[in-house]
């Protein structure tokens, strides 16, 4: 019995160990075969491939087929590139941009090519369908065909070689491992796509579709009242007395002859609201704009002109802008560019400084056509004709089936279709544009004459160029091609939907997806400009009253523009002068011009009530004492910031909801502040009562959220990384911020738009700048967010020209020889 017991114990022990061994073996094998294995392959300690990204550093030496160059990195990680040959320098630029921003570059080209879904999945299919239908990639191809033959062409190619060399040499950034793909080689067309991307961001505007919808739903008169094409103010960029280019004032017509002097008169009906809404989703983000101003040497303490600039674009991690410095015998230039673009876009060289704010010009028109039932032909010029392009393109989708998109184009440009509804689009960016040629030339310009000559090639986007040089010259010029539309030979404005079949709104000299002659566009010398202005500022307001040619109607309310002009006038009047400290302080100005327009009526409305709630009275008292500054520590600023959206909703909500028009269609705060008490929108409701109710709404919201001051609500939380939803550590830290959508120091917490770069430059003397985050897109880099706090306080740091200190990288001619 005892032996049997022992045998039983041995057997049981053997069985137990066999089972455990099986569990160990099967568990290991099962884990290796499961989905978890992919995660472990990426993130397991020591072996995880993602951790390679933590060890990315620039090598000490790099072989370059374009020749020798050196790269120093300053304390903010800005590459300072020095070379004797320009292609060698731009190879290094490409290498550095790829090192710092490869994921942002790849993501942006995927967006523009309609290839996001290939790595993200179905969530981005709408965006891909739009971008494929718009044909941005084909427009970039046409652009490269032209740019390749210019002086900029070989430099773009050297840049591309540098990007691809970095891709081969260095571990991929973390984001590629998080999503799980590898980027394709960079091409010159990809760099041209970056130009299209920023141009679209600044000029992609389907405003005429929205205006037509509003007019149909609310009536043309109400639409004209609520959405004025011209805000009533005097703070235009130009007052008409400025010096113009000599001997080139020939006009197509006088301003008074302009065919359209009233509201738009559409000969065709509005597009389907769903199509208009869908297209609106791909327009410029709300709030895109900028500030810039120039003060001549007569108005500065040093006698040197000063340019101040801060473009208001999307704020994200990493920033849109990338700072670089290039020093060659041909140029010494430093400033900001978009990753993927070889040349400094806004910045300074040893002779001058240049900046751009959005002009708000109308360079996109919409057309409706008679299309046959099969959708194969459209009627144009008196005949049914096949589409100029009619193809099907497949969009790959990660984890799903490919989506097929029909790409059709008319003589004007792409035809966009949504649920059977169509609209044709003509956009100046759909043709070959030479903006890359212009900005390449800016970098080596020797003064205002060189800059003006280069600006002739600046086809898109339409911008307010503000410039000053070391000789004391100053300049304002509207860049970009401005279409002159003709219907039956008559010039018409572009603020309407055209009947494409009837030949309305034709652009002469425009060849979509080809090379345009631009012969029917506004001549260079007839665009708004000013030579040697003394003091001039731009903040996206209309450039001039009664321009010779129609420019556009999408101008900003003048809150920023007026504030800047007032402060510049005060500082420079009576022989006054300014210094860089003044300009940085003006960039930091947070007085909200909406405050004095809207707060007094609110305070009065609360105090006029018979038995006001004590909390309302307290709020009104705080607002009454407020200086209208949107500072992070202010409770009144918080109350105002939250009162406004509730007041908008109370005033516009009912009428617009009845008309099936959403919040995106609400009029501006400028209009809201000026609505008379008897406006039909109030429909018998008291404006004062609505104001008090809106304040009540705001107080309830503030209490529910636990906010005490403006900085509790107005934070950097929205400055997120594209993958920040899944990997929140990539987002920037949430810090309290100053500023509002209407202040000079511009910040929109709701849409993450604001000052995306700030610089102050005294040409030929010195410069300072700051980025909203850091120059590196590498999460592990010390330069990922090392400027974020400086940016919050506009604490700019020096932006010197030159090659910098001890090289961190030496690019050595490859043994295969220089190209």
């Amino acid at each position: 019995m005892k032996d049997r017991g022992i045998a039983w114990e041995v057997t049981r022990d053997t069985t137990r160990r066999a089972v455990l061994a099986s569990v160990l073996a099967a568990g290991s094998a099962g884990l290796a075969a499961s989905d978890a294995a992919d995660l472990l392959d990426s993130f397991a300690p020591l072996s995880g491939e993602a951790w390679d990204a933590a060890d990315r550093s620039l090598p000490e030496t790099v072989e370059s087929p374009h020749g020798a160059a050196t790269v120093a990195r300053d304390e903010f990680g800005v590459p300072q590139i020095e070379a004797d040959e320009e292609p060698a320098a731009y190879f290094a630029v490409g290498y550095c941009q790829a090192f710092d921003r490869l994921f942002a570059m790849d993501l942006q080209r995927r967006v523009m090519r309609g290839r996001l879904s290939e790595v993200i999945g179905e969530a981005t299919l709408d965006s891909d369908e739009f971008n494929v239908a718009m044909g941005f990639a084909d427009a970039a191809e046409a652009t490269w065909d032209v740019v390749a033959e210019t002086r900029a062409g070989p430099l773009v190619e050297a840049f591309v070689d540098g990007v691809n060399a970095a891709m081969e040499d260095l571990p991929l950034p973390l984001e590629f491992e998080l999503i799980g793909y590898e980027p394709a080689p960079w091409t010159p067309v990809d760099s041209m796509l970056m130009e299209k991307q920023i141009s679209w961001t600044l000029t992609g505007d389907f405003g005429e579709l929205r205006r037509a919808l509003v007019a149909e739903h609310l009536g043309a008169d109400r639409a004209a009242t609520l959405f004025p094409t011209r805000y009533d103010h005097d703070d235009t960029i130009l007052d008409g007395t400025e010096t113009r280019l000599g001997g080139s004032a020939e006009r197509v017509r006088d301003a008074s002859d302009r065919a359209s002097d009233g509201g738009p008169s559409d000969s065709v009906g509005p597009v389907d609201p769903e199509l208009a809404d869908w297209l609106s989703g791909f327009e410029s983000p709300t709030g895109v704009g900028s500030n810039s101003w120039v003060v001549s040497g007569e108005r500065t303490a040093s006698g040197t002109p000063t340019v101040a600039y801060d473009p208001h674009l999307s704020l994200q991690a990493p920033p849109l802008w990338y700072e670089q410095s290039v020093d060659t015998p041909e140029r010494s230039v430093r400033g900001a560019t978009f990753s993927g673009v070889p040349f400094v876009i806004a910045g300074a060289n040893d002779r001058g400084t240049w900046s751009f704010t959005n002009l708000g010009a109308d360079v996109l028109d919409c057309y409706r056509y008679d299309i046959d039932d099969a959708g194969d032909r459209y009627r144009y010029d008196g005949e049914w004709r096949p589409f100029e392009t009619d193809e099907r393109e497949s969009i790959p989708v990660a984890g799903g089936e490919d989506r097929e998109v029909r790409v059709r184009r008319t003589v004007h440009g792409p035809l966009i279709e949504r649920e059977g509804e169509t609209v044709g689009v003509a956009w100046t960016g759909h043709t070959a544009t030479r903006t890359t040629v212009a900005i390449e030339a800016y970098g080596r310009s020797g003064g205002i004459d060189d800059l003006l000559e280069a600006t002739r090639d600046f086809d898109l986007p339409t911008q307010n160029l503000v410039y000053a040089d070391a000789d004391g010259r100053t300049l304002y010029f509207a860049t970009g091609r401005l279409p002159i539309r003709r219907t039956d030979g008559e010039v018409v404005d572009g603020d309407r939907i055209f009947d494409g079949t009837a030949g309305e709104g034709e652009w002469s000299g425009f060849e979509p997806f080809g090379e345009s002659s631009w012969e029917g566009f506004v001549p260079f010398a007839e665009k708004p400009h000013a030579i040697d202005p003394d003091v001039l500022s731009t903040a996206n307001q209309r450039p001039i009253d009664d321009p010779t040619h129609y420019v556009g109607v999408s101008y900003a309310a003048p809150y920023r523009g007026s504030r800047i002009a007032d402060r510049l006038d005060a500082a420079t009047g009576d022989e006054g002068s300014t210094d860089p400290g003044f300009h940085r302080a003006l960039q930091n100005d947070v007085r909200d011009g909406r405050g004095p327009e809207l707060v007094p009526e609110l305070v009065a409305a609360v105090r006029d009530r018979d038995d006001p709630d004590p909390s309302l009275v307290d709020a009104a008292d705080a607002l009454d004492e407020w200086d209208y500054r949107m500072t992070r520590g202010s409770r009144a600023a918080l109350l105002f910031a939250r009162y406004l959206p509730h007041f908008r909703e109370r005033v516009f909500g009912p009428t617009f909801a009845d008309a099936d028009l959403g919040e995106g269609y609400y009029p501006s705060d400028w209009t809201l502040a000026r609505l008379p008490d008897d406006d039909p929108l109030f429909d018998g409701r008291s404006r004062a009562a609505l104001a008090v109710r809106a304040l009540r709404d705001a107080l309830d919201e503030v209490e529910a959220e636990g906010w005490e001051t403006y900085g509790d609500y107005n934070t950097t939380r929205s400055m997120s990384h594209p993958l920040g939803g899944e990997a929140p550590f990539l987002n920037y830290e949430s810090l309290p911020a100053d500023g509002s959508p209407a202040t000079v120091k511009n910040y929109r917490v709701g849409s993450a738009v604001g000052s995306s770069w700030r610089m102050i430059v005294r040409p030929g003397t010195d410069a300072t700048a700051v980025l909203p985050g850091g120059n590196s897109g590498d999460y592990f880099s010390e330069h990922y967010d090392d400027q974020l706090r400086r940016w919050l306080g506009n604490d700019q740091r020096p932006m010197p020209l030159g090659g910098g200190g001890e090289p961190a990288v030496r690019f050595e001619p490859s043994t295969e020889g220089s190209q």
């Binding site: 137990r16 160990l24 472990l40 397991a44 300690p45 020591l46 592990f780």
Partner: protein, 125 residues
Amino acid sequence: MSDSPPRPADAPSSADPASLLDRVRTEPRPHAAALVAAVGVGVALAIVHWVGLIAAGALASLVAPTVRRGVGYALGAGVVALAAFAVSLGPSAAAVPGMRPVVYLAVGAGLVLPLFGSLARAVVP
């Protein structure tokens, strides 16, 4: 002639695996050497592939005198692997704790996989 007592005919020789394992589990010096070697080999394997973390736990636990201590040794091997991981990251290591939720996976794998490997100690008594 040696004064040492004659070895019983059926006693295991020092080359016998069972005897070797017994020594490294019971004698302090061989035990320490074996533990260091086991963890070293395991971490080296973990550099190549995450299965190495399981191996690290298994090897460390095998030199433990008891199953319970084997579990502790495996966890220790995981901690050593995580420490090696932190060192391998250099200055970037400071950014890793903020990488939620990725860091949970890394630390979890660094501890749980060796723990799983410690089952080996129960398989080899």
